[in-house]
């Protein structure tokens, strides 16, 4: 007889719930996969209520996601971890949720213990009947899917501000995800990637050669979860700005380790050592963006984020040395949307004026 059905859930970050959902669906055909409800104000409120005061805000979002998922009947929760404070999220979140009286299984994927074999063992424990070979195959499909999503979204970011037909990018983006949900094999994945790559590039834009270009750097969660940064990328796009961002899941998981030394070197005189988590990348990226002639840089972080606060003196020096404006945002559960909007608008106006003066 089968035990009670497991309902597997995990926190949100950007649109990465799609590949995770697909992957888990393939691995656990007998169980239910339930993505946490979409992030709303309530998610953050719930999360903040039960979180330590000045923990960084991704903790609060994650906790809110878990509570909302548990309310809907989830009983297996997944949390990853690694770097700075994130590595210790899992233990404290489990403690808080247990104290709240929920019953669930908590799966911790800590970065130093994650290998395909280990992942397989964990999934066996949850209850997959797949062979290791099949498991690895699906894992690779998921990884490839993440890469394709990252590439597609990078293209969207750089062009959505210049679409001639309103909502054309957004609609196609949604359609793209719908198509991805049907993917089961590499073959179908390749077909989807090719088709949508073509269709995205076929969308009409009127991008001038000298458009305003802004790079966003900073802490990974506030960069990748648009709700947590008040949809800053969208706001920028509305003002016809090309937005570039380098921190993506595929960068963090697969490239970062390889390029670490190079990144430190490229940061030049600004850094002698790594300054923790993604701080080094922020400095190096800011410098590169300045050298490439970007018009401005926006630096995002949760309030009190140690590695990103560490990076700020260097960013200030880069801003001074290269004459590139940098706008700093800190997000917490108390951040007001109006405040963010106003500052962003002022920043944008300033960029436009600078550009006009130069011409």
């Amino acid at each position: 007889m089968q035990r009670t059905q497991k309902v597997i859930s995990f926190p949100h970050m950007g649109s990465y719930h799609v590949p995770i959902e697909i992957f888990l669906g393939l691995i656990f055909p007998d169980h239910r996969i339930m993505t946490a409800p979409r992030i709303t104000k309530r998610t953050l409120e719930l999360g903040s209520r039960y979180s330590p005061d000045f923990v960084c805000v991704p903790f609060k979002y994650n906790l809110g996601n878990y509570i909302e998922a548990l309310e809907l009947g989830a009983n297996v929760l997944i949390q990853a971890g690694g770097g700075c404070r994130y590595g210790y999220y899992a233990e404290i979140q489990e403690l808080i949720l247990r104290d709240l009286g929920y019953e669930f299984e908590f799966i911790k994927l800590l970065s130093d213990r994650v290998s395909p074999l280990n992942l397989y063992r964990i999934c066996r424990r949850i209850g997959t009947r797949l062979s290791f070979r099949q498991f690895v195959y699906y894992l690779l499909v998921a990884v490839r899917m993440v890469k394709i999503i990252d590439e597609t979204e990078a293209y969207i970011r750089e062009n959505i501000g210049f679409e001639t037909v309103p909502r054309s990018f957004e609609d196609l983006h949604e359609e793209f995800f719908k198509a991805l949900r049907k993917v089961r094999t590499f073959k179908s994945l390749r077909a989807v990637a090719r088709e949508y790559g073509r269709r995205f590039r076929a969308l009409k834009t009127d991008k001038p050669a000298d458009c305003l270009k802004v790079g966003v750097v900073g802490e990974l969660y506030t960069l990748m979860e648009p709700f947590s940064n008040f949809f800053i990328e969208k706001e920028l796009a509305k003002n016809r700005i090309q937005v570039s961002r380098y921190i993506t899941v595929s960068f963090l998981l697969f490239e970062k380790r390889r390029v670490q030394k190079r990144v430190l070197k490229a940061a030049g005189k600004y850094l002698k050592y790594h300054i923790g988590a993604d701080g080094t990348d922020s400095v190096e990226r800011a410098k590169t963006l300045a050298e490439r002639g970007y018009d401005g840089i926006i630096h995002l972080k949760p309030f009190g984020c140690m590695p990103e606060v560490n990076a700020m003196p260097m960013l200030q020096n880069i801003s001074r040395d290269y004459g590139i404006p940098v706008l700093y945002f800190s997000f917490d559960s108390q951040t007001s949307e109006t405040g963010v909007r106003t500052r962003l608008e002022a920043f944008y106006d300033m960029l436009v004026m600078r550009k006009e003066k130069c011409v």
């Binding site: 330590p52 700075c84 590595g87 210790y88 403690l95 002698k272 050592y273 009190g304 606060v309 020096n317």
Partner: protein, 322 residues
Amino acid sequence: MTIGLPRAMLFYRYGALWETFFKELGCDVVISGETSRQTLCDGIKYSIDECCLPSKIYMGHVYSLIGRCDYILVPRVAGYDGKNDVCVKFNALCDIVRNTFETARVLDYNIDIAGGETELRAFLRMGLILGKSAAHTLSAYRKARLAQAAEDRRKSELQEKALSRRDGMKILIVSHPYNNYDRLIGRPVSRYIEKLGGICVFADAADRVKSLRLSRELSESLYWLYNKELVGAIRLLEDRVDGIILLTAFPCGPDSLVNELILRKSLKVPTINILLDELQAEAGLQTRIESFMDIIGERARAAKAAQGPKEEAAVLCSARKR
């Protein structure tokens, strides 16, 4: 040659090591003065406003050393052996100082055991920069280690003496040494406890090796070395104290999570969390400490009344056990 040592952050862990090392090498050593309001003001001026309080104080100390020495020592620590990391602030302190005070001459050393940078190597390299021979540096380093060990021993003996006293309420202060020994932010707390007749016991002065081992009982996956030692010290000392004060500087990253762990898992002894920030008012601090100690005293008295007359120390003990 004069080396400046900022009296902040890791100075409270490695002070004797540094001082002896440079003196043995024939350098003069200047240690910045005790933290004052002015130190903090300077620190705030030269820091990003979201930095933690101790790092602001650190910047103030560095600022006060500029122009008074040839080099300012700013260590960089990435991690110790095993799964023992530190807050990323220590990874970056050196680069922060370099980028903030661009004219200052910074002498740094790097400890990153996973990356193959041991303390010995780091000190040998420092000797090289200062133009000393390897043999000279090595012997200076050995002496410095011994001096630090002696200093640590002295501290724990003092602590042992305090723990064996029977004439007052014992309060365990769980805090990073750069908070609780700092004259401006931490000292007022311990001074006030003593004024009320309490005895201060410091978690950071407990046996580090034992603490580290015991910390596993409370948390399997904790990886910040300094916090592990503090958490383990609670386990080590909780049967011998009457109350615990978690003294945290705002907004300390590791402490934000670890305090939650302690408050939820370590329930043997009454515990409060006091937050230190740059707007700290003495009166608020005193009220909280006073009421905390009142509550502990009241509990002890209630237990005494329930059990009949006994020695107060024994009653304090039983109050602890409930």
